[in-house]
Symmetry: C2
Subunit: 284 residues, 2 copies
């Protein structure tokens, strides 16, 4: 029997008014008191449930259902977004997952509204969509580096809230995860990328330039959490200095989102007896 | 220690001149003499290797590499294509997999060359692409149902060979898998879909109509295997009446394709010492 949460992450990690990023303990494991070994078992068990719910959601999607789930992953470099994809989304049928990474916008993307590429990547009915970075980059990297003036990025918070309301109204449950790594842990992880030849490919000199702006990023993240953690699309602040905890927590949040939808097997849209008779009548 | 193949599937299942579909034993387990339980362990072990090779391939793709792998899955309804995706591709990082299902062409797709939608779905560098059905439908369902006249589909075999040569020349290893289910086993699997409410969504009355044309499909599959199993992109005929065997074999073929590429970790394209010094110089 896998061990249980003392407080569900949907409660323990939900960003509410007054959340203060600067004072958050990023090595903590809110709601989980059983350590790493037990966490692996819990995640594996949650993965089985997740897989079952996901298949029902997928079946719904194939049968005219309109529901879907969107997991938004935000975090500084090395926060562990890729690990979440591998270790949490890796637990469900790849057929039901639509993964999209958002890098620096292409020239074509820059020419259009910043939400356009987001709209085009929204999950199809029946699917779990995953955004590795997202429209929030347009109020994070863009704000920190002043890629557009304040009067352009400032209205985006409200615009994003309205956009997400629209997405939710169309049948998508949005789970927004801020993977929060401490500045010291980030240094250790970047150093590892510089020490291990099998990690070189993950390193980019630009990562160090961005890291120099850490206080500005903290401010920008705080603003995101203050202004876009809504009832329809709340943020979850996930302490990520322990990778195992972050994976455990996101797996649980995703399971919760699927269970909230509680998809049922779609009924037959054909005459079962008649089709059985047709099959039986075939000579081979 | 996981048990071993007596003959590698790349040898045992490769379609060579003279392969006769009608006389193939589709409940056989060529090259594997250890039964189902051992097969699960073997697949899990192969999955670990597959995951490691896949990560190196992905790293290469991120660092300017041009290599990729394309797994083409063909088979009659119920042959187990979806199960391969779930149980074999589910073993690797979702980030490195590009899955594409080819259904009935859309109006837009019908207006263009039949290979156009295929070209657009080819895997990006560093990725494992998976085609659930493929351009072969244009000489299978299209031929059987005479959706275009013979003088249109007849030249497609050569055209497909030339197209695949081009894809291979651009750096993609192609693994073509024909999942071969017997007509009796297909009947049993369709009946299951009619008996179990959690399987209804997989059933389509059209499946029974297509099944009525089984001999024509056999003929069309035989022609595909005769005419498009080339040195640059061979077919593997995978007996699929035992789902566990098909998964084991495809996992092994995929592992072999990755190992053949033998991707190495890309070297640093930056000055490691200089970047380490920059990182250490940061105040936090």
């Amino acid at each position: 029997m896998a061990k249980s949460w003392s407080t569900e992450p949907s409660e323990a990690l939900r960003v509410r008014a007054g959340f203060d990023l600067a004072s958050a303990d990023l090595a903590a494991t809110p709601g989980w008191e059983h350590g790493e070994k037990s966490a692996e078992k819990r995640l594996a068990a949650d993965g089985v449930h997740l897989g079952e719910e996901q298949e029902r959601l997928f079946a719904q999607g194939r049968s005219g259902g309109t529901r879907s789930v969107l997991l938004v992953l935000q975090g500084m470099d090395t926060a562990g977004k890729g690990g979440i994809v591998r270790h949490v989304l890796g637990l469900v049928d790849p057929q039901g997952v639509q993964l999209r990474s958002f890098g620096v916008p292409t020239e074509k993307e820059r020419a259009q509204h910043y939400l356009q590429r987001i709209r085009e990547a929204l999950p199809a009915p029946g699917h779990i969509g995953v955004f590795d970075r997202s429209h929030y980059e347009d109020v994070l990297v863009v704000r920190v580096n002043q890629l557009v003036p304040r009067e352009v990025w400032e209205p985006r918070y409200d615009e994003i809230n309205a956009f997400e309301q629209e997405v939710v109204d169309s049948g998508t449950v949005i789970v927004k995860v801020a993977l929060l790594v401490s500045v010291a842990e980030q240094k250790a992880r970047l150093r590892e990328r510089l020490e291990r030849p099998d990690k070189y490919w993950k390193f980019n000199p630009g990562d160090i330039d961005e890291r120099a702006k850490w206080p500005l990023y903290q401010e920008a993240y705080q603003a995101v959490l203050d202004r876009t953690s809504t009832d329809h699309a709340p943020w979850y602040a996930v302490p990520a200095d322990n990778k195992w905890y972050a994976r455990l927590a996101v797996g649980r949040l995703l399971r919760g989102a699927l269970e909230g939808l509680d998809p049922e097997w779609p009924p037959a849209d054909f005459d079962v007896a008649a089709e059985t008779a047709r099959l039986d009548a075939q000579p081979f």
